[in-house]
Amino acid sequence: MRKTKLFLCLVTMLVSLLANAQNITVKGSVADKGTGEPIPYASIQLKGTLTGTSTDANGQFVIDVPKNGTLIFSFVGYQYQEISVNGRLIINVDLVQEVASLDEVVFVAFGTVAKKDFTGSAVALESKKLENRPLTNVTNALEGLSAGVQFTSASGQPGSSGSIRIRGFGSINASSSPLYVVDGVPYDAISNISADDIENITILKDAASSALYGSRAANGVVLVTTKKGHSEKLNFEVKVNQGVSVRGISEYDRLDADQYYPVMWESYRNSLLSASGSTHTMATASAAASKNIASQLMNNPYNVADNQIVLEDGTLNPNASLLYSEDLDWSKAIARTGHKQEYSINAGGATDKSDYYMSLGYLKEEGYSIKSYMERATARLNMNVQPKKWLKAGLNLSGTMANSNITNTESSSGYVNPFYFSRNMGPIYPIYQHDETGNYVLDSNGEKIYEWTNRGAGANSGRHIIAETLWNENLYKRNILNTRAYMDFNILKGLKLSFNAGYDFRNYLNTVYENPTVGDGSPAGRSKLTSYRYDTWNFNQLLTYKGAVGDHNFDLLIGHESYKNDYKYIYGIKQGIVAEGNTELINFTTINSLTSYLNKYRTEGYMARANYNFNHKYYLSASFRRDATSRFYKDSRWGNFWSVGGSWRMDQESFMADATWVSNLKLRASYGSVGNDGTDSWYSWQSLYGILNNANESGFIQSTQAGNKNLKWEVNRSFDLALEYGLFNNRLSGQIEFFHRISDNLLFEVPLPMSSGVLSQWQNIGTMYNQGLEVQISGDIIRNKNFNWNMTVNVTTIKNEITKLPQESIISGTKKYMVGHSMYDFWLRESAGVDPNTGDALYFKDVLDENGEVTGDRITTNDYNAATYYYVGTSIPDFWGSVQNTVTWKNFDFSMLCTYQVGGLVYDSVYASLMSYSSYGSSLHVDIINRWKETGDVTDVPRIDNGRNNYQNAGSSRWLTDASYLSIRNISIAYNLPKSLVSKIDLSGIRVYASAENVYSFTARKGMDPQYSFAGTQSNVYSPARIITFGLNIQF
C-alpha cells in the first residue's frame, strides 16, 4: 500500500512539474465582506481553464495555479471577483453581496446610470425582492415601495393590477396613468410578463428623469427591464408554487330573512300612508300591508300563509320558521376557494463575448369568484453577443399564451355581475326551487332546479347569476409576442451608435356564449366573438458619447425615435342556437351584428441629453425632446419638452471627511416639462360623422363630440428638491423630497350644452397643480452577524388644486371642478339628519334674499330637489404611505408590508343602495335597524317608505365615509437551506417560502374598499382576493 502511494506521489509530482513548471500553490480564504464570515463551498476557478476548486467548510482553499494566472472567485448571491495571482502564495478574498449599495445602477431612459451619479428621483424594485412574493401581475409588488406613489386595489380577477398615480393627479379628463416602458419600448400589458423574467422595475418620478420620454411622461414612467445572463457561472433555477385564493374583503352586513320581512312590511305600510291622495289610516294601511306584502316580495320562504308572515303590529309571526334557510346565501354561492399553481425554470450565463438567458413558465390561478381563472404559459430567450470590441448586438424574444374566463363586472348594476347580484339579492329568495313543504324540487335526473321567477321587482326577477355563470362563457384567449433587438457600434473611443427596434404583438380573442335558458341569451341562445389586435413598432437611433477631461466627466446623447400602434377590432354576434354544446358561430342561425374597424396612432420625436459631473461630486444634466403625435391636427401636433437637474454629493466634500458617521448625503433638484396626449380617442381633433345605417340604406350621423384643430399637448412642469441621506454606515438612510407639479393646457373634455346636439369637445383649457412632500426613512434597528431587522417607513402628503377652468365650474358625478378646489372635492347635498317628528330625511338649503342672493343662513328641507349643493370634503387623504419590516435571522427571511392612509372620504354608493328600498326584494344593510319608527325617535336613519325612497335616500353627504385604512398587504417568510447541506447534493441553493397577499384591512365599514378608486367612489366589482402561496426554489 505504501509503495503504491509513494509511487503515485512521485508520478503526480513529476506530471505537475513537467506540465506546470511555473505553478505555485496558493492558499487563502474567502469571506463575506460585510459580515466577515467565511464562505464555505465558494468556487475558485483558474480563468480560461477547467481547473478549479472550492473552499472548505471554513472558507479555506488551496489551489495550484501558474504564477501569473488569474483566479475567479464566485458564490451565489455575491459579486464575483477576478484576482491576478502575481506570484502571491496567500490570497484572501472578501466577496461583496449583491445587495443594495451605492455602486448599483439605476435604470433610466435609454440606459443606466450609477446610482451615485443619478440626479433624478426614482425608486427601484429588484428581482431579489420579488423572490418571496409570487405574484401573477408583478405591478402589484410596487405598492408601498415608494413615497409619492398611490395605488388602487387590484381586483380579484387573476392577473389584474391596480392603477398607479405618481405624485398626484396630472389630468382631469385625459389619462393620469404613468407610461409603462418594457425594455425601452412603451408597452402596458404587464400581466403578460412573467414575474420571474423581471430584473428590475424602476419608477421615474420627476420630470428630469422621465423627460426623455417627454411626450407621454407627464404622469411619470414605470420602467421594466427583463433579465439577461450575467455570471460566468451558469445559473439554473427551478421554481414551484402552490397556493389558494379566497375572498379578501368580507361582504357588507345585511339583514337576514327574519329581519327583512318585517322591514319590507313597514316600508310598504308607510308608502300606503304617504301616497298622494291616500285615504289610509295607520290601521288600514297595516292591515293592507300584512295582507299584501308577500305579493310584493313574490316569495314566501316560511311555513305560514302569505298574509300571516308579518302581523299587523309589524312583527314577524312567532310561529313562522324558514323552510329552507340553508338555500338563501347567494354571496356564498358565487365564491369558492381558488387554487393557484406556478412552475418555472430559468437559466442564464455569460462569457466575455456573450450572455444568454432563457426561461419557461406556466401559471394557473383560479379566482375566488366561481369559474374565473387565468392560465398563462410564457417563454423567453434573451441573448447578447459582442463578436468584436466595436460591435454588439442582441435579441430579446418572448411569447405568452394565456387563457382566462373573466367574471363580468363591467357594469356596477349588471345582471351578470355576481357581486352586484348577490349583494343586492334579498335574503328571502332561494337558489333552487322548493315545493310548499320546503323540499327541493328535482328534475327527471334527480337534480335540483334553479329558481328565478318568484322574485320581487328589486331582486332581478327572471335572472339567475349562478345558472348564468355556470352555463355561459366569457373566455379570453391571448397570444402575445414581444421582441427587442439592437445593434451597437463603438465607432470611436466613447462614441457609440445604436439602433434599437421593438415589435410587440397582442391578440385577444374573446368568446362570449349566452345560454338559451336564462339570461341575455334567452331564449334563442347567442354567441359573440370579438378580436382585439394590437401591433406596435418602435424604432430609435441613438448617438452617445462618453468622455472625460481630467475630473470633468460628461456623457451626451442625441437621437430620433418613431412609434406606431395599430389597433384592429372585429366583432360578430349570432343568435338562434342549433345544437347545445357548440359555442362556435356556425352553430347559430341569425347574424345580429358583424363589423370591424382599424385605429392608428403614431408618434415621432427627436431628443438630446447631456450629463456632466465634476469629480463625481457636482452634477448637472439637461435634456430636450421635440415630439409629434397623430392625435392632434398637423398644425398643432409638435411640442417641445425639456429639463434641467443638478445634484451635489455633500458627503464627498472635504469638509465632510471627518464626519465618518455620514455615509451618504446628496442634495438634488430638477425642473422640467413633460407632455401628455392621452385623450380617450386617437382622433379627438377631428369633426366626424359616424356610420349608422338605416336598414339596408347607408347612413351617417353627426358625432356627439365636436372636433378641435387647435388641440395640442397638455404640459406638466415639475419642480423637485430632495435631500438623500445615509448615516452610520447606511444604518439609517432615506430621503426627504418636495415636489410641485403644474399641469397646464389641461386636455379637457368640455361639456357643451345638450341643446347644441354636440355633447362635448376636447380643449386645452385649464390649469391644475399637485404639490407634496415625500419622506422615507429606513433603519436597521438591529444589525448583527446573524440577525438583522430593518424597518422602512414612507409618508407622503399631497395637495391638488385647480387654478384655471374653461367655465366657472364643471360638475362631474359627485364632484365639482372649480378654481381653488381639488379635482376630487365632493359636491353634494348636505345631509341635515332626520326630522324626529316625521322621520323625513333633511337636507340643508341656503336662504336667499329678495334678489336671489345667498344670505349665509341655512334652513333644512325634506325635499331633495330643493336642497342646495355644497363642497363637503375630498377623497384626497391627509397623508398615506407604507411600513415595511424585514427581518433576517441566520437562514430565515421574514417580511411584512403594511400600507395605510389617514384622512380622505369615500362616497359609499354601494352602502347607499343597500340602504335604499325603492324596489321590493333588494337587500338591506343592517344599519336600517336603527331607522326612525315613531315621533320623537332621534336617529340618523330616516323612516323607510317605498314611495318616498328618492326623498329619504337622495345622494348627499350622508353617504360619505372615512377612507382611512390600515392594510396588511403582504407577509412572507422564507428559509434558505444551509449551504453545507445544499452542496452535499450538488446544488447551489434551496429555498422554501410562504407568502400571503392582502392579509387583512382595517377600514371604516365592513365590505367597503376605500382603495377602490382615487376619486373616492365605490362600485360593485370583483373585490380583491387574499392569496396564500407556498413555494420551493431550487438553484442548480
Binding site: Y268, S276, G277, S278, N292, Q296, S411, G456, A457, G458, S461, G462, I491, P516, S522, P523, A524, Q541, H560, S562, K564, Q575, T590, I591, N592, S593, Y597, R602, T603, E604, S630, K634, W682, Y683, S687, L688, Y689, G690, I691, L692, N694, A695, E697, G699, F700, I701, Q702, T704, P751, P753, M754, S755, S756, G757, V758, Q807, N865, A866, S919, N950
Partner: protein, 500 residues
Amino acid sequence: MKISLKIFALLALVVSLASCSEDFLETTPTSSYDQSFVFTTTDNAFAALNGMHKSMVAQYNSRQNLGGYPSFQIAMDCLGEDLVFPTAGNGWWTNTGEVKWSANRNPNGWMVYFPYQLCYKLISNANMILDNIDAAEGPDNQKNMIKGQALAYRGMAYSWLVQLYGDRYNANSANDGLAVPLVINTVEVMKPQETVANIYAQIVTDLEQSITYLSDPDNSYISFTSKSHIVASTAMGLRARAALTMQDWANAKKYAEMAINTTSATLMSQTQYTQGFNNADNPEWMWGFEMIPDQTMYFYGYMAYMSWNFNSSNIRGCPKCINSLLYNKISDTDIRKTLWDPTGRAFTMPSSSYKRYPYMNKKFAVEDYSSSVADANYMRLGEMYLIAAEACANLNDATGAANHLYTLVSTRDKSYTKTVATGAALLEEIYVQRRIELWGEGFRFLDLKRLNLPLDRTGANHDESVSLTMKVPAGDILWKYAIPQDEIDANDYIESTVND
C-alpha cells in the same frame, strides 16, 4: 483611414433613417368620416338623413328603456291612466319613474335627460343638413327633398320638446313662459330658453316649409320603398298634430284632411288589426321604422316591453294591461275588444313562465318570441281621422266630426252607427275612440296635458303600490319636465334655479 470611412457611412445611414415620411403622422379613423366628406354630394347628404332615421330607433346611454322614439312612446303611455302595469315587473318603467310620476322634476334623472338628448340630436343633425346642403353637388330636387325631411324632423323634435319641457299651450293666453333653447342653425348653438309661443311659431314655419318641399312632385326624387322616409303626407300629419296641440282647430282640420287625401295609406282590415302592429307593410302605416335582424334592439326595443309574447323577463313578469274602465267602454262588436282579455286566463301563452293578469293586451306581438325585432310605427292613417274629427267637433261641425269618426270606427266595428251626439258629448266620444285606437302608441300624457285634464287612475285596475301616483290635478308642476341638469351646467344662459 478605413475607420473614418466606416464612421461616415454609418452616420449617413443614421441621417437617412432618422426621420419618417411626411404623412407618417396623418391618421384617419375607419369607423367615421370627416364632416366635410358628408356634404360633398347630395347622395352623402341623403345618407346623413338616413342616419337620422336610424337614430330614432337606437340604444342610448346603455339603459334598456332608452331605445329611441319608441321608448318615448312607451313613456307617454306609462304616465297616462290607460296603460296599467299589474306589477312592478323588473323595475323598468316603474322604478325608473315613468309609471310612478316620481322623476318628472328630477333634473338629474334619465327620464328628463333622454327626450332632451334625442330631440336635440335630431335638431343638430337637421341643422347641419340645412346649413350645408346647398353647397353639395347634386340635383336641386334631391336637395329640396332632403331639406323637406330635415325640416319635418326639426319641427317634430321641437314640438316634442315644447310639449314636455314647457307649459301647456293655451290658445287664449300669451304663452310666454320659457321652455327650451331654440337652436335653428349650426352657428348659434348656445342659446337662452325661448317662449312657448315662439317655439310653436318656429314649428309651424318649419312644418309648412317641409310640406311645400315634399309636396312638389319634382322633389319626389326617389320613390321610397322604406316607410322610414318622410313624405308630404307625413309632414302634413305632423302639422296637424301641432295644430291640435295649439287648439288651432281650423288648421288641424285642414292639414288632417290634407294628409288623408294625400297619403297612399289606407285603413287596415280587421284581420290586420290583430296581427301584432309589428310590420311596416301594414297599409295604414304612414311613417315608421323598418328593422332588419342585424339591427335588432335586443331588450331596448319597443316590443321587449309592450308585446305580449317576447321572451323578456319584463314581459313574462308583467304583461301590459288596459285600464278596466276604458275596456268596458269598447263595444262588444268591435274587433279591438279582442285585443285585451278581462279574465286574464283566455290567451295561450308561449310558455308557462309567462304570468297572466286581467286586462292584459295582445295588441302588440313579435313574430318570433325569441327576437324583439319588429318594425316601429310612428304615424298611421287612423290618427288623422281622429284629429279631423276632434277639430271639426271643436269648430261646431258635428256632421263633419261624425263622418270622420264613422269612416274610422266602422272599419273596426261592423255594427257601428254614425253618432248623433254634439257638443261635449261628441267630444267625449271622440276622446274615447282616440284612447282605444291609439292605446300604447304614445299619446295619452300629451293628450291629457293639451286638454288640461287631470290624471285619475282611481276606480279601475291600477295597483296603487305599483302606480303610486293615482291622481294629479291639471296644471300641476308635475306636468312639466325639469330641464336636465347637464344642460343647466353647460349652458351659460340657463340659471341653476330654472327648475325651482
